[in-house]
Amino acid sequence: MQRIGVFICWCGSNIAATVDVERLAQLIKAEPGVVFSADYQYMCSENGQQLIKNAVKDYNLTGIVIGSCSPRMHEATFRKAAESVGLNPYMVEVANLREQCSWIHKDREEATKKALVLLRTAIAKVRLDAPLTAGESPVVKRALVIGGGIAGIQAALDIAEAGFPVDIVEKNPTIGGRMAQLDKTFPTLDCSACILTPKMVDCAQNENIDILSYSEVEDVKGFVGNFKVRIRRKARYVDETKCTGCKVCMEKCPSKKGLNEFNMNLNNRTAIYIPFAQAIPNVAVIDPTQCLKLKTGKCGVCQKFCGAGAIDYTMQDTFVEREYGAIVVATGFRPINVDAFNEYGYSDNKDVITSLELERLMNAAGPTNGVLLRPSDNTHPKVITFIQCVGSRDVSGCGKPYCSKICCMYTAKHAMLIREKYPDTEVHVFYIDVRTPGKNYDEFYRRAVEQYGVDYIKGMVGKVWNENGKLMVQGADLIENEQVVIPSDLVVLATAIEPEPSVRKIATLLTASIDTNNFLNESHPKLRPVESPTAGVYLAGVCQGPKDIPETVSQASACAAKVIGLLVKNHLKTNPCVARPDETACNGCSQCANVCAYGAITYVDKEFRIGGGKTETRRVAQVNPAVCQGCGACTVTCPSGAMDLSGFSTAQILSEVEAICRK
């Protein structure tokens, strides 16, 4: 039997004015298990706490009920006081006599009666309280960043700056990501490469950063502070340590018909290649689907010419296993496939291009060396029409239901750059809405209209067709209330973006939740925007939702701050109010694991004695207390009632209900 002490706070007159605290203290003495009761003006004060501490010692109390303000206010205070005199802090319960009683009721009799019920309810709960101890788990002081775009680079640099080792795993042969493909960046129009490549070099030179390029995360085990990750290092067929990046192999390679992914397939590359001049690591890679030596066994030209002897056609995928305390997901995006929108004729007309393709056509390092030539006949386009919201805000099934967020700004940027470079070009933009919130963003868009004379047309395009080499763009001008047809030389589709599809596999490995659009879910949309609900996993960049470079960089730095905050700890204290399975009742049905949003539940095979000296092996649930957040979803789902929640056990809540219903 518990020895319970009840302490009733006056809260000055806040409680005492409507609740007869003295009578309450007398009445509650009659409750079974209550060995001490007292009332005091301010329980949370130094003296009030001393009163509690003394009573614990004098009356040998095993449980405490405090009738005071909301537990959200002072539960922690009273728990600390209890702990200081050797009582387990989880043996303290608070009855909310202020916010939920004295402040809302005027009738003294009624309020006192309710206060009595609330105290009885708390006593019923404390009777079934058990001492709980917060567990501890060590933290591996190393972080993993998945994805080497600007988000991953920024997060890695910030974490490394704080002194922690970071690994960047990038599936492509070089880091840099989408930003490396861009020409200029809004709203300042500085060149993308000029601001990105120094950061890439910083990554390569930072002692704390290890770049695992051309690698993929294969498997993740463990939990916050203790992830064990298996990484596949794909065969490059080029020894990273020997290759000097001299590009002789690229000059000699006879297989020149591969599509250049970095240039959005607008030109060709050789089978052995370095994606772009500033690649990090600046090491060649062989495309095995294209290389003659690897396909037919006959060639070997690159090996013959490589002065460093770096080529190795026998190279195989290798695996590395490393431990990490925290993981940052920064897998980024890709433009959607616009083939489904046949009204724009993307697949039929070479001169209908996506914005990222235009980005390469405008780039000095692109297929046209920065001269804007239309793909079909390499002539200067005189009339260019942009179509916004291609695939964004589209619930037809061809596109994406969300706004891709960056298109309004990059379209304004493209239009402006074209008018700047080729003033004789006519530029039209079809739009549904122009959305340019952000510092200096709307001013940027207005500049395109007012200063550069870009013709913005409110309305969408319904049809694009080719007439004698001209692309006829037919759309609505809703302000003029008429249909317009614009004969154009080049049509640019502001294509929606979607999360890089590899994120699905990574989300599964990390048990990180994902939404219907394949964006990773954040822990709280407003207050925990960079953390995944899975503890120890953080989100940076477009993998969490559409965003531009400034936003991505701030989110990546926020991630880094969170990671550093985790890695500076030697041990993690875990919340003891977590789920606990009763192994004897568990039948291993997996229902609890299915509802767990955190992936805290795993299964093990365990041997149980079944009498007669025999044993049987059963699959039973195990909860990782470091990962469980204590919501209790599993406790209700469990068909055999094997799962319970410490601190809010089924028996406790039932006894609370009974205490409330007691007449």
């Binding site: 207005r446 209209v449 007012e450 004379g453 013709d455 302000i479 003029e480």
Partner: protein, 128 residues
């Protein structure tokens, strides 16, 4: 005078920076003569940007504008739709080679119901 020159003349007389227009429609939202107009105040600006000057010159609306300047007052971008309307009106009267009406012609059409402002406006409208 060709179409382009007419457009440029209207623009010059209007003295307003039409590209600043965001097509929000606040001018038309405030215009007291909106219902009488075949081309609405925001369209005056829009047509001028698009170079549809002949439509403007054929417009009846220029004779319905009260010149109350509410559109100018309300515009969030500092554009003066009324300036455009006034410029079109001036251009039309000039093209017709008329001098409008003389002050002596006014009294017979004035009655008590005509607002004071209209008199001022009419005077401005019909006199070059």
């Amino acid at each position: 005078m060709d179409k382009r020159e007419t457009g440029e003349q209207i623009l010059r007389i209007s003295g307003t920076e039409i590209r600043k227009c965001m097509k929000c429609g606040k001018c038309s939202g405030r215009c007291p003569a909106y219902r009488e107009m075949d081309i609405k105040p925001h369209q005056f600006v829009g047509y001028l940007i698009k170079g549809k000057t002949e439509k403007l010159l054929e417009s009846e609306a220029i004779w319905h504008c009260l010149s109350c300047m509410a559109c100018v007052e309300r515009c969030p971008r500092g554009v003066a739709p009324q300036g455009v309307i006034e410029a079109v009106r001036t251009t039309v009267t000039r093209m017709q080679g008329k001098n409008g009406i003389s002050a002596e012609d006014i009294p017979p059409i004035v009655d008590e119901l005509i607002p004071q402002q209209l008199l001022v406006s009419a005077y401005r409208k019909y006199n070059k």
